[in-house]
Amino acid sequence: MARNKGRDNPEINSSSMADIAFLLLIFFLVTTTIANDRGLSLQLPPNPEDIENIDIKIPERNLFKIQINSADRLLVEGEPFEQDVTEIKDFVLNNGRDPESSDSPKDAIVSLKTDRGTSQERYIEVLDEIQGAYYDMYAARIGVTNKEWRDIASDLTDPENRRLYDEGRGLKDGKLEYPMNLSIAEPSKTGGG
């Protein structure tokens, strides 16, 4: 074992380190996209062929009808509507007070019907509004903000979140007191598209 003791200058020249790092940085900047995994979540109903075709009569008062035509115009409860949908909360939380509105939150159904020619943008806007109304209600029931509620609902693996989530939706004997009854009908074919 020959050892060379005391050789001069054992350091590595590191002045080009910044350049190397810059090169890597630019490479990653160019080749990557920031992950966007956020959006409106929705649970689709089961396969239509599996559902038994029973005609269920739903009283008119328990339905909150929103229709969008192919020109992206809104029809809310039979009336043309220009602004955002804001009456959903009143409708769901009516509890039978107003005879024109829902019996109880459990029976209240928000029905959203679009046309084949409706743009996705308008549809997302209305869906956002409906989900927001429900999230507001859930959040108010457990005393958190809307944002906190959505964070809780996004991570149900935590038992504490699970508990709050069930409390907000009023889980009682396996049934929800405040279910999000959102019915999205198959689009009509009048507008083409």
Partner: protein
């Protein structure tokens, strides 16, 4: 004038020895926060805005569908199309696509598959609803419309 003409005693050059560290920090930030592009997106993607966003927990359970007007309109026409992986598919092919996506997952997790739909804001509901119907038939019922966070006023 002489009142202001003082001799500068301070050193003028900025120390640059910490520069590599700063660059490395930026580099690590971008390495951690980004994912490599997996597919080339061939449709226009002007993602709509929304306020009530939810975050996806398990990325491994997510499969993506892209819907919008093709970028190469002379080749594919201007009608919105559905893109899965790297190819355009018809709504009737969605069931097959879901089956192959489910096969990639563990057996116990196959029911939890989530479909993230990145839909262009100009796309029509008709096409999207056709895809949704096929997803229902394929029993992939967890759906996410990818949206951007709307700025609050």
């Amino acid at each position: 004038m002489s009142k202001f003409k003082k001799k500068a005693n301070t050193k003028q050059d900025i120390p640059t020895s910490a520069l590599p560290d700063i660059i490395f920090m930026l580099l690590f930030f971008f390495m951690v926060t980004t994912v490599l592009r997996e597919v080339t997106i061939n449709v226009k993607q002007r993602i709509p805005d929304a306020t009530q966003l939810r975050k996806l927990q398990r990325k491994s359970l997510v499969s993506y569908l892209y819907i919008g007007e093709p970028k190469k309109t002379d080749q594919w026409g201007s009608e919105p199309r559905v893109q899965a992986n790297d190819v355009f598919i018809e709504p009737s092919d969605v069931i097959l696509w879901v089956t192959t996506e489910k096969d990639k997952l563990n057996e116990v997790e196959r029911d939890q598959i989530t479909i993230a739909m990145k839909v262009d804001r100009e796309a029509k509901r008709g096409l999207v609803a056709d895809v949704e119907l096929e997803l229902r038939k394929a029993n992939a019922r967890k759906l996410l419309y990818t949206t951007l966070q709307e700025m609050e006023e």
